[in-house]
């Protein structure tokens, strides 16, 4: 009794640089002639769409891509559009120029990754492993057993971990978008000397300019580097390095003098400890 000829394996590839996409397709054609490339995508979103549409056996994913990146695509490839887990998600191979963090994470796992420029020998080894795993799958299917998962639980977890770490760290604020006359100006956080709450706006003072932004002070505080800025009053945050000295105001309150601005700012009692001599 002979098994029916297996359908040719199918793959989706994704890389935002056309040269590299073509190079990968070409290299695969040589290393794995029967592999059929059913989708060649330039960004993460179209890669996810192609994977859901084509249900390929393998996906070769660049990590850094416009839109959703390779890690997100890998995580998404394990489930259908409605979120239900797939029986036989594609086997994933990351193809990357250099992603130290991601590569470290997968160093000791079964997940394959390839570095660019592609080396023929490495690609051939990866193809050999992929073929073996596809054969295992086919055998399991023929025996009526559940297919071994494409990405084992540990790897999926690791990808989720990498993604979560990236999402959870509130993006450090580097730029403020401020309306200034008829244009929108971007002010680098590094230039800000003082933030001062004014109604629902924040007054942003730089060395030689000022602007208003619409952001609650509370949100701002969560995203400012804490070691660079000090809150000295309910409505005032100053750059620590800009504090030249303090003095006592007439009311007996501490007053902060800045290096690059003439204004003085009062320190309210709960924040006075920042300036205590000891």
């Amino acid at each position: 009794m002979t098994a029916p000829p297996a359908p040719p394996p199918r793959a989706v590839i994704a890389d935002d640089e056309p040269l590299l996409r073509d190079a990968l397709a070409g290299a695969l054609a040589r290393a794995w002639p029967e592999l059929e490339i059913v989708g060649a995508c330039a960004d993460g979103d179209s890669a996810i769409a192609a994977i859901r549409r084509e249900r390929p056996d393998v996906a070769f994913l660049d990590i850094r891509m416009p839109g959703r990146d390779g890690l997100t695509v890998a995580a998404e490839s394990a489930r259908a559009g409605d979120g239900a887990p797939l029986d036989e998600p594609p086997l994933i191979v990351f193809v990357t120029a250099y992603d130290a963090h991601a590569l470290e994470a997968f160093e000791r796992d079964a997940v394959d990754y390839l570095v660019k420029p592609l080396e023929t020998a490495r690609l051939e080894r990866a193809v050999g492993r992929l073929r073996a795993r596809l054969a295992e799958r086919a055998a399991a299917r023929a025996a009526g057993a559940a297919a071994p998962a494409a990405l084992d639980a540990g790897v999926l977890q690791r990808i989720a971990g990498l993604l979560a770490a990236r999402e959870a760290a509130p993006a450090p604020l580097r730029w403020l978008r401020a309306s200034l006359r008829d244009e929108v100006r971007l002010i680098p956080i590094d230039e800000v000397v003082v933030f001062e709450a004014a109604d629902k706006y924040l007054r942003v003072l730089t060395r030689d300019d000022e602007a208003l932004i619409r952001m609650p002070l509370k949100e701002l505080l969560e995203r400012l580097p804490a070691d660079e800025f000090w809150q000295i009053h309910r409505g005032t945050v100053v750059r620590a390095r800009e504090v030249a000295r303090t003095s006592r105001g007439l009311s007996g309150r501490l007053v902060v003098h800045l290096r690059s601005r003439p204004e003085r700012f009062e320190v309210s009692r709960p924040f006075a400890h920042l300036f205590r001599a000891d």
Partner: protein, 390 residues
């Protein structure tokens, strides 16, 4: 016969809470809080009392005064008002940063006023404590004049001593701060060089470019060769460039063009670019690596993250005020406030550039970003580079 004792006074003149000029990286100076202010005031009063006592003792020692008791009382009676007067004008002197033209009249007036009050006080105190003095036979008028002169002399000497000490301290602080600033400027220039080099050999840029060349080698050998040439030219120019003191705008643009050439081959239709720079401006001299980082930034944060890509235009103009402006405009993703680059090293490039501009040009140079319409970012550099033809 007790010659009245003058007395001096003195206070630490220039109050020490004048600006400290600490180097920009130093932690902010913790300022005295209430208890230390009290402690300071107490110290000053004690020092003044001690000084007055010392003067009284000296007057006795040199024979101007005959008895220590009356000399002590008069010394204190005159010295304390001078100290108080000088202390109360000290903040104005401090505000003028110790300027002699302010210090001399203010302290002079304070000393004279202090002496006048002091003499009155001394006359009264002597009457109270030593009803017998001054000794008979001494002309009270002459005694008062001599006391006044001695008091003023002591007051001036002590004030001068304190004032001089404070000036010296401030001069030293200022020198420290300046030296520190020079070091900081040097350091930031060195950092910029390093940054530029590191940006060029940024692993992603390097390996993706190599992968691109490798991809072209078989399919289109002449194109592969051209790309490799461009990449090599770019690397070489960057290495040479980062070390040079100055370059011309034209050279800077050529280096930038080789970067864009490499990126163009990699990104294909996703990247369009053009330079709009009047020929005469290309000869202007400027520090290297001011324009290229802006273009790099536009590619990395504007064009690459967008699947459809975008266009980059570099424009240079002579502004009405005579300064040179260079704009790098892209139609890419735009630097929304909440878009942080994925890699932690990103985004600091512009901050470094701004820091470098400050070190080189001070406040005359400007780096500003604004949003491009309908999408993207415009980075605008304004440099105080005069027109050599004029």
């Amino acid at each position: 016969m007790s010659t009245p004792m003058p007395a001096p006074n003195a206070t630490s003149t220039v109050p020490s809470d004048t600006p400290t000029n600490a180097p920009p990286d130093a932690p902010p100076t913790a300022s005295p809080d209430a208890t230390s202010t009290v402690r300071r005031a107490a110290l000053i009063v004690l020092a003044t009392l001690a000084l007055n006592t010392l003067i009284a003792a000296m007057l006795v020692a040199v024979g101007i005064s005959t008895a220590f008791g009356p000399a002590f009382v008069q010394s204190q009676a005159i010295g304390l008002p001078i100290a108080a007067a000088c202390w109360s004008v000290a903040p104005w002197v401090a505000r003028a940063e110790g300027d002699v033209r302010v210090a001399v009249p203010l302290f002079g007036a304070a000393i004279v006023a202090g002496v006048l009050v002091g003499l009155a006080l001394a006359g009264w105190a002597s009457g109270v404590f030593f009803p017998g003095a001054p000794a008979p036979g001494v002309d009270p008028g002459r005694v008062t004049v001599r006391t006044a002169i001695l008091s003023i002399a002591c007051g001036v000497l002590v004030t001068l001593a304190f004032y001089g000490r404070e000036r010296l301290r401030h001069a030293r602080l200022r020198a420290d701060a300046e030296g520190w600033r020079a070091v900081a400027a040097e350091r930031s220039a060195a950092q910029a060089q390093l940054q530029a080099l590191r940006a060029q050999v940024e692993p992603h840029f390097l390996f993706n470019t190599l992968a691109g060349v490798s991809a072209l080698i078989e399919r289109d050998p002449p194109a592969a060769r051209a790309m490799l040439d461009e990449f090599a030219r770019h690397l070489r120019a960057t290495l040479r460039h980062a070390r040079a003191e100055t370059t011309t705008l034209g050279e800077e643009l050529d280096v930038t063009a080789s970067l864009l050439g490499v990126m163009q081959r990699r990104l294909g239709e996703r990247l369009q670019w053009r330079f709009d720079v009047p020929e005469p401006l290309r000869a202007l001299r400027l520090p290297p690596m001011l324009v290229q980082p802006l273009v790099e930034n536009a590619v990395k944060h504007g064009i690459e993250p967008l699947a459809v890509g975008g266009a980059i235009e570099v424009r240079a103009r002579r502004e009405a005020d005579g300064r040179l402006s260079v704009e790098v405009a892209d139609t890419g993703r735009g630097l929304a406030e909440d878009t942080a680059p994925r890699d932690p090293g990103g985004g600091t490039g512009l901050a470094n550039l701004a820091q470098r501009l400050r070190a080189i040009y001070g406040p005359d140079a400007r780096l500003a970003l604004r949003e491009n319409r309908p999408r993207g970012t415009v980075a605008r550099l304004v440099l105080p580079i005069p027109d050599p033809a004029r």
